[in-house]
Symmetry: C2
Subunit: 188 residues, 2 copies
C-alpha cells in the first residue's frame, strides 16, 4: 500500500547502515527519500520508531534470504556449510557494513531499550534457526552447538567489518567443521 512508508524504511536502512543511527539525521533521510517531514511523522511517531521499523524489516529480509539460500541444499552438513557460504557472499558485497543489529546494540547499550531488545531478538531467532538445522544431526547437543556456531558467525562478521578480513567466513567454517567432527565422534 503506502509506498512512502516503504521508501522511507529502505532509505533509512541504507543510511543507518553506512552512517550510524545517531549520526544520520531525519532531515537527511527525508531529503534522499523525497518525502515530506509530516508524512514521516504520520507513519512513525518518532525516530526511534523508524529505527525499530528498519530493524524489523531487516530481520525479516535477512533471515528469509538466508533460509531460502540454505533450503537449496540437501544434507544437514551441506546446509550448515551454506550458512557460512551465505555469510561469505554477504561480506563480499560492496555495501557490506557489518550487522545492523550488532551496530544497533553498540549505539543503544541499555539492554532495556526497545532497540537493543530488537537486536537481541534477532540474534536469538538466528540461534534458534541454527538449532533446527543441528537438531537433524545432533539432537542432544543441538542447543549448545547452535550458540557456539552463532558465536563463530558473529566473530566472522566483526572480522569482516573491523579488519576487512574477506576470508573470515571461510576461516570460521573450518572451526565449525572441527566442532561438528568432534560432536559426531562423541555421539558414537
Amino acid at each position: 500500500m503506502s509506498s512512502k512508508r516503504e521508501i522511507l524504511i529502505d532509505k533509512a536502512t541504507e543510511l543507518f547502515a553506512s552512517g550510524g543511527y545517531t549520526a544520520i539525521g531525519i532531515d537527511r533521510i527525508l531529503a534522499e527519500a523525497g518525502v515530506a517531514k509530516m508524512t514521516m511523522y504520520k507513519h512513525f511517531p518518532s525516530k526511534q520508531h523508524l529505527i525499530l521499523a528498519v530493524l524489523k524489516q531487516r530481520d525479516e529480509v535477512f533471515r528469509t534470504s538466508l533460509i531460502t539460500y540454505v533450503k537449496q541444499h540437501n544434507t544437514p552438513i551441506d546446509k550448515l556449510r551454506a550458512v557460512f557460504k551465505w555469510h561469505h557472499e554477504w561480506f563480499a558485497r560492496p555495501d557490506f557494513s557489518g550487522c545492523m543489529f550488532i551496530n544497533a546494540s553498540a549505539e543503544f547499550q541499555d539492554a532495556t531499550t526497545d532497540i537493543h531488545q530488537a537486536a537481541a531478538q534477532h540474534k536469538q531467532l538466528l540461534t534458534h534457526y541454527l538449532e533446527t538445522l543441528l537438531g537433524d544431526i545432533f539432537p542432544a547437543s543441538a542447543k549448545k552447538l547452535a550458540v557456539q556456531i552463532n558465536i563463530l558467525l558473529d566473530g566472522a562478521i566483526v572480522a569482516a567489518q573491523v579488519t576487512s578480513n574477506h576470508n573470515a567466513a571461510k576461516e570460521a567454517w573450518e572451526v565449525a567443521e572441527c566442532l561438528l567432527k568432534q560432536s559426531s565422534h562423541q555421539q558414537a
Copy 2:
C-alpha cells in the same frame, strides 16, 4: 604530568563506552570531568582527536591487563585458557558494554578514517599476540589459528553484549579447545 588530560580521557572513555561516540557530546564530558572547554581544546584539537586518544589508551590498558593476566600461567594451553578466562571476567563486570573498538568501527564505518583504522589496528595487535602464544605449540599453523581464535573471542564479545550471554567466553573456549585438539593430531 597534566592531570586534566588524564581525567578527560578517563571520563570520555566511561561515557563513550556506555553512550556511544556520536551521542555523547563534549559538554557532557567536560561537565562530568570538571574541566573547562578551552583546556580540552588545548589538549585535543577536536572531538575526533579525543576519541583517538581514548582508543589509544584503551588499547594499551586492555592489552597490558590481558598480557599480565596470561603471564601468571605456565603452559601454552593454560595461557590460552587464561585468555578466555580473562574475557569471561571482563563480561561479568557491571560496567561491561562491549568492545570499544568494535563499537567504534560500527559508528565510523569508513575504513579510511583514523578511528576505524585505530580499531582495526587493535584487533591486529591482539591477533598477533595470540600468534605468539600459539607459536610455542603450533609454529606451522599459528597464524591461521590466531585469526580463528580471534574470531571466537569477538563472537563471544558480541554474544555477551547483544544477548547478555554470560557464558559466551566459556562456550567459545570449548570451541577453541576442539580446534587445538585437532591441530595437535594433525601435527603428529
